[in-house]
């Protein structure tokens, strides 16, 4: 096989294996015609959409839902960076994470304190190019460097659909994807991924293996008041967060890890050093500004003038979307959704109900391939199979722009067998 053939073969193979992101060119062409777009492009979209039903793409979780909040914030969340600023690789030379901007650290600690969702005292903060990079940094840090076999990486079904491909794409000798945590055999060391609230199904989770020789990575991307009641101050050894799902700024590519063990923080930093020689300072500074605005709005919670509190706005919005989704499901009669019980939220100071970032939708009535079934109605979702579950489930993003969500609800309500 020539190199050219090899490359073609490789491209085809990864297309088959790694379908989760679906940001590839083919999908993109479809999205160019169909995705909801910013105001200036809407005319073109409508023109292109004439005479055929638009595709509603809720496959991935692009969190554009909060755009209007940030538009209302106006200049308060604007950042200005001069050409001569942030030129050096270095940010905080006395810190283990030498590329961490001190202002970003300050705002991360402040926000967690305001919300009460995670302990930051005696924790090392490691910044990453999104929590995806930090997840890989954590695998690198927690894997024995000299083991004969790569360490097993597991997560309970249904797990985040990208975990298998992110773990295995480089065929690392340090770690390997080993599937469902419930089926892990043997007494070898392992790494367990616990996403809570869970992607795709919104459930609150804990580690399931719980034996010697294991370490746990807690992905708390969705542990914010708009998605779930804040019932406790998370206090795990290694916790991952991302601004993408918290405030909706996915394009910033900023995540952070709260790490108890100094050596783990050091090794995660080393990974990011080798992977990308640090993390964009511009993004860190912008993220700091965004988090500052959120904290500021939090701290006014309960005051009459709190109309712009981010989490209150976001919670109302998510609650409204879930109400409409449950109505649509009820009208159609063909689907079901997980049920969530209200719990006391320490942040809101009252009972609140979970409103997850994704809906884990089940096709009832003997439909075995829910993704395919919905595609027939020009609704794109992600099959349960990618999450280690059954094909009668799909994951639906609840975080797209309003007009996309409206189309989805209208279409779903009218689906009959």
């Amino acid at each position: 096989m020539t190199m050219r053939q090899n490359r073609l073969h490789a491209a085809m193979e990864e297309k088959q294996q790694i379908q989760e992101f679906r940001f590839g060119e083919k999908t993109n062409r479809r999205r160019t015609r169909t995705m909801s777009v910013a105001a200036s492009d809407q005319e073109e979209e409508i023109e292109e959409g004439k005479g055929k039903e638009q595709v509603v793409d809720l496959d991935h979780g692009d969190p554009t839902v909060y755009e209007q909040f940030w538009q209302k914030m106006g200049d308060r969340s604007t950042i200005v960076i001069s050409g001569w600023q942030s030129m050096s690789y270095l940010s905080d030379v006395g810190n283990i994470c030498w590329f961490l901007e001190p202002e970003f650290t300050k705002q991360v600690r402040r926000l967690h304190q305001s919300v009460g969702n995670a302990v930051t005292e005696d924790r090392h903060i490691v910044v990453g190019t999104g929590s995806t990079q930090l997840f890989q940094a954590a695998l690198y840090a927690l894997s024995p460097p000299d083991a004969f076999e790569p360490i097993s990486v597991v997560s309970a079904i249904p797990y985040y659909s990208s975990y298998p491909s992110i773990t295995d794409y480089l065929k690392s000798g340090l770690y390997k994807w080993a599937g469902d945590a419930y089926t892990l055999k043997g007494d070898e060391p392992y790494i367990e991924l616990v996403t809570s609230p869970n992607n795709p199904d919104g459930s609150i989770r804990q580690a399931v293996v719980n034996r010697d020789g294991g370490t746990v990575i807690h992905d708390l991307a969705y542990y914010w008041p708009q998605y779930t009641p804040i019932t406790c101050l998370a206090d795990h050894d290694l916790m991952l967060f991302t601004i993408s799902k918290c405030t909706g700024h996915a394009g910033i590519r900023i995540g952070w890890a709260l790490v108890k063990d100094k050596e783990v923080a050091r090794k995660m930093t080393k990974f990011i050093e080798l992977n990308t020689i640090g993390v964009s300072k511009d993004s860190q500074l912008r993220a700091a500004k965004i988090l500052q605005v959120v904290s500021h709005s939090c701290e006014q919670l309960g005051y009459p003038e709190d109309s712009e509190s981010f989490f209150k706005y976001a919670s109302r919005l998510m609650a409204d979307r879930w109400d409409r989704l449950r109505d649509a499901v009820s009208q159609s009669g063909l689907f079901s959704l997980p049920e969530f019980m209200p719990e006391s939220c320490n942040y809101a100071g009252e009972m609140t109900t979970p409103h997850p970032a994704f809906a884990w939708l089940k096709c009832e009535g003997g439909i075995e391939d829910c993704e395919n079934f919905l595609r027939g109605y020009n609704i794109l979702t992600r099959t349960g199979k990618h999450f280690g579950a059954q094909g009668n489930y799909v994951r639906v993003s609840m975080l797209d722009r309003e007009e996309t969500f409206d189309m989805f609800i209208e279409r779903l309500s009218n689906i009959r067998l």
Copy 2:
């Protein structure tokens, strides 16, 4: 061995193996006292430095040399980003590289056209979190996905000191570091890295293996007029560039690849998708602005009002530093430097002499460990051993701030046996 012991062992092992970046905490503490810092911190530095000779750290290539130029540019290179901008993961949904900002693409093409250093017609542009990420994306794209053994990655001695660790840190089953390109045996497929001008020695390079089954990654980070005469329009299959060394904005973490083959561009994009789900939009927008200012200054070259042309400024500055370095070496009598011949530069329209970003300094007079010898004078450099060469060589950064370079020159001039 417990997990805790494993982690400690791992941390120690990587500390021994991967010393190239040296941004770790221990080094940082030293740098906190000693590195040249921005104006506002200088007072503290002087106070802390009292009574002992400051350490001159020229180990890594932090390109702060151009800060003053950008200060002079004032608001022209300032960027303003509103809170509601750039929230989506997506940038250009019709492009293979779906996270590439169109304005960044435009400015990359414009700059290459202004400088005449690389072909951009019929090339796919892939943006990366620095060229380090793009290097790994290229390895991923060019490695056969189903080979029995990882493909060999080679580069001619002396090679960039980070290539071995970046290639091997994840113990990938796709590719492995195989050292000096001149010693590559057998007829298996391989990937050759060609850095030109070369890091560490500034030489102009071409591939050395040149046989079937090989692909080449051209790292052209230093192929800009301030470092070397632009003698031809580079036209290779896969070329890497970074804003860090071009304009000095290392903290932005932006690089770009010019890629001929569509499938290679697609697979590099897939790597970045899996590695970091795209590249900071804020950084891309800021990089676009910086490159625009550079192009603007380029296009005025030859006019009487061209006092702010970036490459002219940078070339004068590098020429001055090299003159001073050669004087110091001559005064000391203990060292030698590579010699470079002037060549006709298509950009400058005249004969120019190379002034590389690093000096590849050789200790003469029987000193076998040049790094250690200079450390005795509180000058930190990087031993030739990390570049696959001998310990009587060191690499010295020519891109640090003026006051650091001044100290270095003064100290070097006075070294006698």
